[in-house]
Amino acid sequence: MVFALLGFAAPVAVIAQTPAASAPQNLQDTGLYADFRTLQVDPRHLVFTPQYPLWSDGALKRRWISLPAGGVIDGSDPDAWVFPVGTRFWKEFSFGGQRIETRYLERQADGEWLYAAYTWSADGREATLTSQKGRRNAFQLAAGRSHTIPGVNDCKACHQGVRSEILGFSTLQLSRDRDPDAPHAEPRSLPDVDLNYLVEKGLLAGLPQPLVKTPPRIIAASATERAALGYMHGNCGHCHNDQGPLKNLGLFLRQIPADRMQPAVTTTVGHPVRKPAPGQSPEAALRIDPRHPQRSALLERMASRYPPLQMPPLGTELADQDAVALLQRWISDLDASPAESNPQPKVHHQ
């Protein structure tokens, strides 16, 4: 009930008519580096690695958070942490050993998040503010595709799908009970910035005790299912959830720690497609057709990069073949009537 009330009190944001604030022109002015000349990151910033990383066409990513002096994250709603004013996040994207862009989020005095992206020069000596519209052809990928640095509205299209607007720094993503089968799992950072670290350091307060005592994990029928649901949480759940603007689609792929049911299964497996996307196969009548990955619309859209059909619709130019293979295994192994046989609890924290 408390969570439901919070949901009403803090609805997801709507993209504003005009941007409220502007970001620094250069990355170094955001405070990421102690010494920009040597690219030494300020050691006071915390490195973190979400256990279910977002697929970004194989980019190598590094992430940092900086809390203001004395600032504490309010974790009393485990599904929507509240970050203190002045919190800053950075995410650096590299392809082929070359820094391409660094994205930046900063919580403003009015509570709004400032969104920015910085484009690295070819010699790696400068990183300047990218246009609000983003930048195409920032790096040549495979198959004639190229990496696009997203515009601010595209950043918000995903981030504003959840109340906190922060996607990779959350209860499940920072659980100590990490999924060893998560696609593209990254090595843990040092120090290992997980839930327990944050609580012990006094940087995260209010997190329900069961989540502190027993790190949350997705409870699933198999290791494959756990990894598949986790992948969808990290790559799809920020838009497809029961609180954001797309809730009326009834497709809930985000794992919520306080929720004991598993909507990521019940809203997909055996669930009819409501409105086929352009280019969708007529055979794909169900979101997930148990035992039939080739007839599963969700997988078809994940595997496609035809723009009207592909999922996610932005932020990626190449299908994630590892994830496609994972979901194929999961769907092939599914029981034909999972909605009846598999109404399992979703995240264990007892």
């Binding site: 709507v14 993209i15 299209a157 799908g161 603007p245 797309l246 689609l249 059909l309 592909q310 619709p313």
Partner: protein
Amino acid sequence: MKPRVLLIATAALFAPGIALAQSNPADQQVKRGEYIVTTAGCHDCHTPLMMGPEGPAPDMKRALSGHPEEMKITAPATTTPPWMGAFSPTLTAWSGPWGVSFSANLTPDPETGVLRDFSEQQFIQTMRTGRHLGQGRQILPPMPWQVYGKLTDEDLKAVYAYLRQITPIKNKVPDPIPPAK
């Protein structure tokens, strides 16, 4: 009660009602939406043109219902430089480097209207981002969402309110066609 007093009392009874009808916020919002839709060019692409005695004119019997489903188009137009695009006689199908796009059915038809799954918030997000439902696939040219995205929330809400109460027209607009390889 004298007739004059009765007249005054009657007028007093009805006057607030008249004033209320004139200032009904919902009606005003719809009127505002109609004004924007009419003056901002929505009919130019979403109401098919038909040839009449005075040349092409919007077919208002199909107002805002998008590309007519019976007009079949199966491939992008073939153009030679310097031309890079073409459009159908109805001005509802557009061929260019993006393939072929078809103007959407904006009427509230429950089966074929594009807005049938859109909330008011999603409609605003769509105009702001140029993405279907505000978060999905890109809206194709020549839809000038960049212009309409600069409208205020109030104006976009008015457009949404107007479009949700116009006459529904059943017309299944085809899916876009990819560009020729």
